[in-house]
């Protein structure tokens, strides 16, 4: 337990790390969040008289790699102009030599916090579609996020969805580089023979967990989106809750084809009321082999949309009876009117014969 003096010391340490914004157009307001690469502060832009978020490299983490990563993150964000991606306003160097970039200050709730409030299933799925949009946009521009998880999604007060933390994003074909440097959310980096592991274990695709950098592509993000869907459906992340990427690797390596065998409990085992097509979508996105997953976020979103529209889901082979049942539930009104018509004809026939 922290004593008051410990807390005072922590506070002093935090304040000592606060960036020196003198000579910039920004005025520090307070700390917003802390990540592996740096700290996000709320700051006041004196020129434009608005609050912005400043991402500044941590005072004791300003090595060349981290600086390069922050600059690249800013460049990637600046290139990806999409309503679901936080816009970057400015990049610069502080008087103390730390690199920073200014971006839109996002208010709202994290997706995991919002889901904890217990949203209806259809609303949860609509949120997933909104998450898929910027990810699909990034994929179309050759960028892979590599660290998608509910904690990295913000939902604004008007329902706007923003995908955050592109610190470990990479351009397709970029096998190695400063972006591939460290894990996030407190997980320590775990180098392997193939490359460097980045991401969050519970949401990380098997190939990413194994450090197979050359195999990481849009389908790795699809896996993470599948894991978010799993979280939305069951309230927990898939897998056995591996504590480290290595543990995750071992779990997946044990069985390469059946998610259940690999430690992913099928969503309907946790909630039997979940629709089968939705479970099929989730498990297809979470397939161990990238080839068996949806090719991109857009295709995953399309299948979720089909489910929401009551259409046939590609991931779920449907029997004739299943199709008939789906048609009946989709066109209930029409069937009722047709039934009324037939009943009326029969009644008229009976009346005519009396």
């Amino acid at each position: 337990m922290n004593t008051p003096s410990d807390r005072a010391l922590d506070r002093l340490r935090d304040v000592a790390q606060w960036p020196d914004l003198s000579g910039t157009r920004y005025e520090l307001v307070g700390e917003v969040a802390r990540g592996g690469m740096g700290v996000v502060y709320r700051a006041r832009d004196r020129e434009l008289e608005r609050d912005v978020a400043l991402k500044v490299i941590g005072a004791f983490a300003a090595d060349e790699d981290t600086v390069a990563r922050l600059r690249r993150e800013a460049r990637i964000l600046a290139r990806l102009e999409h309503p679901g991606i936080v816009p970057v306003h400015d990049v610069g160097v502080l008087p103390d030599g730390r690199v920073y970039y200014a971006m839109k200050l996002v208010s709202g709730k994290r997706l995991d916090e919002l889901l904890a409030e217990g949203l209806p299933l259809r609303e949860r799925l609509r949120l997933l579609l909104r998450v898929c949009e910027p990810v699909a946009f990034a994929h179309a521009h050759g960028v892979i996020h590599r660290d998608l998880k509910p904690e990295n999604v913000m939902v604004g007060p008007f329902g706007e969805v923003l995908v955050m933390d592109w610190g470990v994003a990479k351009h397709v074909g970029e096998a190695r580089g400063p972006l591939a440097a460290s894990a996030s959310a407190g997980a320590a980096p775990h180098a392997t023979a193939h490359g460097t592991i980045v991401g969050t274990p519970a949401y990380m695709a098997p190939e990413q967990a194994r450090g197979e950098v050359e195999r990481v592509d849009a389908r790795s993000d699809v896996y993470a989106l599948g894991a978010i869907l799993y979280f939305m459906l069951t309230g927990r992340a898939p897998g056995r809750g591996a504590a480290s990427p290595d543990a995750t690797t071992r779990t997946w390596a044990a069985s390469r084809h059946a998610p259940a065998a690999a430690g992913i409990v099928a969503p309907r085992e946790l909630d039997p009321d979940l629709p089968r097509p939705l479970e099929a979508i989730c498990l297809e996105a979470l397939a161990l082999e990238p080839e068996r997953r949806y090719p991109g976020a857009a295709e995953l979103a399309a299948d979720v949309s089909r489910f929401l529209e009551g259409e046939r889901v590609l991931a779920f082979p449907e029997s004739l009876l299943g199709r008939a049942r789906r048609f009946a539930s989709r066109h209930r009104t029409l069937l009722l009117v047709l039934l009324a018509y037939v009943v009326m004809r029969v009644v008229l026939l009976l009346v005519a014969r009396v």
Binding site: V337, R345, L348, A352
Partner: protein, 122 residues
């Protein structure tokens, strides 16, 4: 396919079937069945057009069904007012009930299917 066209096609088909089904509920009309089918098809087409134009303006399944039903009922009533030339008998129930339900089906179809002006093309 735009909504009035959907109404026209579905109205024509449903109207033709509605006319044909008269053979089931009133077999004695068999000699006049061709005239009934033609008249019912024409009625279906008109109801379909009304429901289709309504669907172009208003996006509401219950209202669409209600408009189709009302139009079907009205046109069926106009037909039912004409007595059977042979017997002088009126077939109000036999014409108006199926006519209104056929109109409801057409109203449903025009709300569910077809493109409104300004809808994105696939």
């Amino acid at each position: 396919m735009n909504k009035p066209l959907v109404g026209l096609v579905v109205g024509g088909i449903v109207g033709a079937f509605d006319g044909l089904s008269a053979l089931v509920s009133a077999p004695e009309v068999a000699p006049q069945i061709m005239g009934i089918i033609i008249g019912s098809t024409f009625k279906g087409v008109i109801v379909g057009l009304i429901a289709g134009f309504f669907a172009r303006k208003v996006n509401s399944l219950p209202l669409g069904i209600a408009v189709g039903l009302a139009a079907g009922l009205l046109f069926a009533y106009l037909i039912a007012m004409q007595p059977d030339p042979a017997t002088g008998k009126h077939y109000y129930w036999e014409i108006m009930l199926p006519g209104s339900l056929a109109g409801a089906i057409v109203g449903y179809a025009t709300q569910k299917f077809g493109r409104r002006p300004g809808d994105a093309r696939a």
